[in-house]
Symmetry: D2
């Protein structure tokens, strides 16, 4: 299956965080044809917040098998987790690379009108309510195509391919780090398609990646009949609503750009019952890690204050997060050189207004003395990331493969040797 | 099947509003053995707010058939609606009665510990997440037992049994009135078990029933990435949360007791997306109908103001409601006399802190010159209505049948003739 | 000075809580002409919340002297407090009465248009921003007129006249009780003009008086420049605003009528400064004392939760309060008899939708075995209490004096002896 | 009076916006000794929002005269406004300069402890509750000292000194522009002391000045007795509190730094009255003018939505505002050269996290083809601007005079000619 068809196949079968069973099985099936060492279950399952329950995993396992995935692989992936690490050694000494390719999709209902390329071309999401609205379908395809190209082993060093689950929500990288997947790595790179850069333009690195903390708060009060005994209730929804306003009202910081959001809130029950349960998910971000930590603490304080005011309990869980990221200059030079060598337009840095838990891999590598960068390859997005009309110009895919290939083959050299 | 077993059978198979397929099929099967005229589909399906969709009906139809209901009956009930009217004529002239028996259960997860009688006795809900937590299981059993007793036709006039769907949320009576089910009725009575009266004590009528309006509000804004472009979002959840606080903050009235509640709120999506959709359900109540109307309008104004502030749209729908209810003195006397004649303890009036759309039947009958009452038979509730531990002392059931039987056989006379 | 002119003189010089210097000096000057024992400073100054500061007292002292009050009296009253108790003994044994007459005015700007009787007749408030908008001007006049009538001492027992400061806000009675002013009292009565009863109609007692708690909350955060360092601020106003919504959102009680209100909020400063200080006053009420206590605690919890959420401090002070009140049946009969004997129309009980700290006197007397009531004399109010157009039909004043006089002279007998 | 004493004199007599009567009179008295043309009343009084009323002006006029100001000058300034323009011509042709010196103080209570230099040195504010907490006292002194130095007329061109009222709140520059005070101006400069730059360091210009809009919102509802008839009230405070939360909850923008603040809120009245009036002041800011306009509109929408929800009226007034500001490169060079020529340390640009309506003068001059800059002279602030402990190292004052003098004498040349 070629690069484009691979991407379309993944696109048509979007799976949410940690449920990437079909996608990971597809990765496995491709890797089996290559001279690589494969490690499945390359993640620590313990302690992952909001990990999908058995029913959900079973549901996606059924879909995966129903759409052609190998049943044994799917069962194994469902049991061990979907993270896969594949290692490919070059034929001569050189640096150890880790390249990150994320696999998860989003709970977004994909556009179905004719202006939307995947719909017009017949590869729109077949899992209603889910969508590859962030380009990870392309990332998976790029990773596999790159592995295939490098299968000739004509490069210095070693390349470790990290096929990562759950980038959205910031939980996958942390789980994989729990399985020591970047031990011994000298150079780390993640690549992202799109991000409002023109098609085919390569940014050697990014600036302004947000450190972020994802949280879930569960308010537990006491139900009561809203007419017969409202005073016996302790209103979890009222606490949650107060928290929504409080979180959005947190101050801007003059010292660093910040963001807050409450993305979901659910209080089920009945119209005539004082709600005893309400659950929300929210996030803090800042381009400065310390400010993000401060802001995160303030979010929690708002949640606690809202609970106190209503006499309800609140349980706050950090469900994910990632740090900010400084790209290393030497590696930036190497990427620019690789882009030049393959004839692609490149810029040194691109401002990024989001977060990616690739920053955790980068941080781990840098802490151990290695270098890291986060590349972007423009994809001429017709609509913003996470939008039902999001798409990536497929011409961007081979560009990403070219530059990564050159980077590895050149041993990360910034100049021809 | 006797009264108690009938109640337990219904209790074990609780079905929510308008999904009472197994319950109604059970009613039909019992009625077929009696000399009654049966009218199925005794309701107007058009214009019912939030009527269950085909998937939901199919789901409960499957459960019903799976637990023994007649497949053809279930299909017919799913197509026509679950309201059933059965008419039984006495052997001599007399008043036309309408007696209301409501059938729906609640979205409450029933307690499973040994202190809970239905759990200990093995007739706990088998439909997880749903529960007869308001005594309607007993009402259905009482209605059928009464019909069986009166099958000798030794009474004056006619009795119309109204087996009503969707009392909770206040939609069923309105739908049945759309099918003219109380035309020609002289006397209306509804009976409710429980309501904090001691077991077996009969209240001839109630005071303080709340007029109520149930509403659903859908806020529609614009999604955007919470980090990359928060300013492009129009935050539906923020509007909904503001409305929650605003609704609860509406003033108390010195002129009549009032209630407000926001029972549910749901904004799905993703933690890093500005929520474009949020939906809540809420209610207003007052013991005075005009105050309820005023309060309802204020709830809507709060919803509209919250939407305006956030630049989102709000669509407000009245999904149900009922009026307050004044019981007729003559009928109260007749019930007291019937209780006396059957040896049961009785009180004239009982304060009720809730709503029941039986009030709509009562209002229609009274407007046409008839009389109405709303009786209560105490059931020694171990826990409040709508609570997971709610239960009714089964000794209350025959009391209710006795009194209704005497009432009908005596032709609503307050004194022996 | 006759009853009407006395009332108008007091009306034209309205003084707020604890600043009733001119009014009390006027009371003193009248009492000096009568055979009474006078006790000034009849209150405990220690521990009164929000007692006016020296500057404020000086301000009103200046106004009092400037409008004719005796300078020495004013100085004494400013130093000791304005509460005055005058005792008048009858010429034969009998019960000891305590009759309460409150003196304070409100911070309301009086209407000045010709439709407002005091304005048209030239006795509108001469202290701009303050107004006798609750009838206390009439109460003072009634008390003095009654003392004058009873100066013949032709009655059994003893009458203690309680001229009370600071009824509004519920602080004066508590302060006077701290000086043991109802020790040895057998019968307590307070009279209030108006309350929506027709002119001249006497209600022997009231029902439905609210127990209430008045509170003041001061939020203290940290100021910072709203542009240069918003993150350094801890926003006291945001906390206060959150509390306003939370307090209004507290549940209604099915067990007793309740009220909540936030009457004032002040956060001064500058538009570009994060507010470090915000102060609000609020109240809870319920017709049931225990419910009021519960509601008061919930108000405080809301205040604390709002402070916690914003990381600010909150200092909550109970600034006043009063209990509910049950009138004694024997005394009700006596009032009805007194009204009958003087030819005035009377009803047994009148529903009252407010609070009065006379309830604290009543409670103290009842606890010691005495009896208490709270009478109302209708005054045909053209506008609600506390409204700029509030007024009392002056024809009501002699009715009140008549009934109280008869009550005392008859020794509280319900029948002629 | 020398530079330092002049500053201390102004510091000790701080006057708020448009009330700078003593300060302006002092300016006049100094200008009279110099060969300048003086224009008083250099502002358009019509249409200034929240201009002080006659009572306030009279109050500050009294204080001014009481502390030594000329009575006739004060009266004239009170009548015409406090803006003063003085023009001084050089002895040879050259550019026309406009230099802005703002005069107003803030409603901040100055620190009185010994760590605060003005308190320790005896020149703390003598107008309790007001304080020069932003350095304008120094600006006035610098302007007068500069005028005195340039009185030898040994410079090319003309210098127009703009002594401006009401910089805080952003109203003074607009009023002066209404009197055409920058007509014919080629070069505009404003100087500000402090702003967290080390003492004596000169920043030739600033970046990141915020465009801002100041607003005042008055909510008008209906008062009612909070116990007797809460339902008759329309709660202005509840609307205002809702708006406070809504304004703080407005989204951050990814396109430009923003700020929002609600600086003051006042709802006076009584604890037992539903508040009929509430007034708040708030501001929007952004480093991008268009974003500020967008944000301002959203603030207004929040205010309107909050009013709608509570059924109250809201009147929104823009009380001030200013634009962002781009300094001209040529003028920046000239300032750097002037600093170099006088031996002072200089930097090209300084990031400023605030607003200043000098931007309106700059914009007007630039629109007419001239150049503008906004200089900063570091003052080693011991506490942030607007803080009770704010102060400026007096060593900064002569630096500012030196650089401005050199700038003018050199004809704004960036190189020595």
């Amino acid at each position: 299956m070629d690069l484009i068809n691979l991407r379309r196949d993944v696109h048509a079968h979007p799976e949410p965080a940690f449920c990437e069973l079909r996608t990971a099985a597809l990765v496995l099936s491709h890797l089996r044809e290559l001279p690589v060492t494969v490690r499945t279950g390359a993640m620590r399952l313990e302690g992952i917040p909001a990990y999908p329950d058995a029913v959900t995993l079973e549901h996606f396992a059924g879909l995966a098998v129903g759409s052609g995935a190998d049943e044994a692989d799917v069962a194994k992936l469902a049991a061990e987790g979907t993270a896969i690490v594949a290692e490919l050694s070059g034929d001569r000494p050189g640096p150890t690379w880790a390249l990150r390719f994320d696999m998860d999709a989003l709970p977004v209902t994909e556009a179905s009108d004719g202006t939307h390329f995947p719909a017009a071309q017949g590869f729109r999401s077949s899992y209603e309510g889910f969508m590859h609205a962030c380009g990870h379908d392309g990332h998976v395809a790029i990773g596999l195509a790159l592995a295939r190209r490098l299968a000739d082993r004509d490069f210095p060093g070693t390349v470790r391919f990290l096929f990562q689950p759950a980038e959205e929500g910031g939980r996958g990288a942390r789980a994989m780090l729990g399985a020591d997947v970047v031990e011994g790595v000298d150079r780390f790179a993640a690549v992202h398609l799109g991000l409002d850069l023109p098609t085919g333009v390569v940014a050697a690195g990014i600036t302004g990646i947000f450190a972020t903390t994802k949280m879930r708060a569960r308010f537990t009060g006491t139900a009561s009949h809203a007419a017969a005994a409202p005073q016996d209730g302790r209103n979890a929804l009222l606490a949650a609503a107060t928290a929504v306003l409080g979180i959005h009202g947190l101050p801007r910081f003059s010292t660093a750009d910040t963001r807050v959001n409450v993305g979901t809130l659910r209080a089920d029950g009945n119209v005539n019952i004082v709600p005893a349960l309400a659950e929300l998910t929210c996030e803090a971000r800042s381009k400065d890690g310390a400010v993000n930590a401060d802001l995160t603490e303030r979010v929690k304080q708002v949640l606690r204050g809202a609970a106190l005011a209503q006499g309800v309990e609140v349980d706050i869980e950090e469900t994910g997060g990632s740090t900010s990221l400084d790209c290393d200059g030497e590696l930036l030079d190497a990427v620019l050189a690789a882009a030049g060598a393959t004839g692609h337009e490149a810029v040194r840095l691109h401002e990024m207004g989001g977060s990616d838990d690739a920053s955790l891999f980068a941080e781990a590598v840098q802490r151990a003395g290695g270098q890291a960068t986060y590349m972007v390859v423009g994809g001429g997005n017709p609509a913003p990331h996470h939008n039902p009309h999001f798409d990536v110009d497929e011409a961007a895919l081979p560009v990403a493969v070219d530059v990564l290939e050159a980077l590895v083959r050149r041993g990360a050299a910034a100049t021809d040797r």
